[in-house]
């Protein structure tokens, strides 16, 4: 056996040993369950609405798993709370006058050897008092030639007591209206070509806020403007 063969055999033996060590390590770790995924569907609800929380876990030794759920920020359980999937119900109101709040749902997955894994998912609860803003014009994804000269921006809030509709172009305040309808022309003659985001923020009594945005593309032209 020449020197090269001895070296190759040594390398192979070393690799095999390493592989064994890794396998043994994974067996040690398998005493603790593994959580592959935890979801909340939907992840965003309105008050008193429900969300289904599911945890996908496995035990590498094939041991039976048990589930312990907790809701440190409140809300209620609906139905059975011992399986891998539970139903959580949002509270009927949000404290502190906020328009939305995040609620944590914790899962503890335990095997027969009392080894466990933890995970958390967040559910956002929105107050129904928030206005819903709809931008009627321009349409999201529209291409608008600069030769048009102006773009009509038309939006409305779902609450008629909305007292402010602010318009932002690429995050920069443009102007506002004091009613639940925003309908104004945007002079694009001096704008540069490219993508622009139009955002409308509606505010109503109680500090409830709703927002919507569309992205458009201004297409450059030369020639006469209207």
């Amino acid at each position: 056996m020449n020197r090269r063969n001895i070296l190759m055999m040594t390398a192979a033996l070393f690799t095999a040993l390493n592989a064994c060590i890794e396998v043994n390590d994974s067996i040690d770790n398998s005493s603790k369950p593994v959580i592959d995924k935890m979801t909340a569907v939907p992840a965003s609800v309105i008050i008193s609405d429900t969300s289904v929380i599911t945890v996908q876990a496995r035990d590498l030794n094939g041991e039976r798993l048990s589930y312990v759920w907790s809701k440190p920020d409140g809300g209620d359980w609906v139905g059975n709370v011992t399986g891998s999937s539970v139903t959580w119900k949002a509270p009927s109101s949000l404290s502190g006058g906020v328009s939305s709040k995040n609620f944590r749902i914790n899962a503890r997955v335990q095997n027969e050897n009392k080894k466990y894994a933890l995970d958390t998912v967040m559910v956002t609860v929105n107050s129904t008092q928030n206005p819903v803003v709809t931008i009627l014009s321009p349409l999201n994804g529209a291409f608008i030639p600069l030769s048009e000269g102006t773009v009509r921006i038309h939006a409305q809030s779902s609450f008629t007591d909305t007292y402010s509709m602010k318009c932002y172009i690429n995050g920069v305040p443009k102007d506002s209206s004091a009613t639940y309808v925003y309908e104004k022309n945007w002079n694009i003659a001096a704008e540069t070509e490219g993508t622009k985001q139009i955002q409308i923020v509606a505010t109503r009594p109680g500090g409830y806020i709703g927002t919507a945005s569309v992205t458009i593309s201004l297409e450059g032209t030369i020639g006469k403007r209207k």
């Binding site: 030639p145 030769s147 048009e148 297409e219 032209t221 030369i222 020639g223 006469k224 209207k226």
Partner: protein
């Protein structure tokens, strides 16, 4: 207008046409054979770009360049499924000249393609007639994507019309011969045939429209027929390089002006 209805066998009718050469030997399952009831041809997309180039300063506005480069790039992908035409027009700002602009181009834009629905502004690109138009460009990528979306839909279509044309230079005269085959089992009425002479003048003037010839009209083509148009002649004077000159034949619906099919004279 001279009209010839050809009742000879297909091989005789099409003798001399490279597309149809040897058709007498082909079987009736060939989808380019007008006598095959299932014959179809791929839809050719005609992309007409109305542009302006400041020849007074010899510069191309970036919006125009985005549009042109996007079409040049797409032409490499679509090849014979796509024909590009560039019409140069003047601006209302007369200080910016474009020596490639012609009165015919102006008439085409204002009388047929943009009759006032939108402001006059360039680039203004039309796809198979005035029905689908895209005005302006914000980048090469955006323009390319927008054009490609339309071309993808357009070029997958099959149509029952097929055009074949030949061009020859005879001294200072350009001669154009064209035949149009009607496929399927229905006749077609009221066609308008346009002849557009283009010249490759180099960078960003690759498909420059140099002459728009008087069109021909066809009352009807019966199913399975091949219609031969009268020879068209035009003075080649004024063309810079006949080797870089092509003729585009556009077959339009004479009522709607929609482009039904097109071909390049070879």
């Amino acid at each position: 207008m001279m009209k010839k209805k050809l009742f000879l066998s297909l091989a005789l009718i099409l003798a001399g046409s490279p597309f149809y050469a040897g058709c007498g030997d082909i079987d009736r399952s060939n989808l380019l054979d007008p006598e095959n009831d299932n014959a179809v041809a791929g839809q050719v997309a005609v992309v007409e770009n109305f542009v302006h180039r400041y020849t007074s300063g010899d510069s191309v506005n970036r919006y125009i360049a985005y549009s042109q480069r996007a079409l040049y790039d797409l032409h490499q992908d679509y090849a014979e499924k796509m024909i590009v035409l560039e019409y140069h027009l003047l601006l209302t700002d007369t200080s910016k000249k474009d020596t490639l602009a012609t009165g015919d181009n102006q008439l085409r834009y204002h009388n047929e393609y943009n009759t006032g629905a939108v402001p006059r502004a360039f680039p203004h690109v039309f796809f198979n007639g005035s029905q689908i138009g895209i005005q302006g460009a914000s980048s090469f990528e955006t323009a390319r994507q927008r054009y490609k979306t339309i071309l993808d839909t357009m070029t997958v279509r099959k149509v029952k019309l097929f055009g074949d044309a030949k061009k020859t230079f005879d001294g200072n005269t350009l001669r154009i011969n064209c035949k149009i085959a009607r496929y399927g089992d229905k006749k077609i009425n009221d066609l308008l045939i346009e002849y557009i002479v283009i010249e490759n003048l180099g960078n960003l003037t690759r498909y420059t429209v140099r002459k728009i010839l008087p069109p021909e009209s066809i009352v009807e083509i019966l199913p399975g027929d091949v219609y031969e148009l009268p020879e068209k002649t035009v003075a080649a004077a004024g063309l810079k390089d006949t080797a870089k000159t092509d003729v585009v034949i556009i077959i339009k619906d004479n009522i709607t002006k929609k482009i039904l099919q097109a071909c390049m004279a070879r």
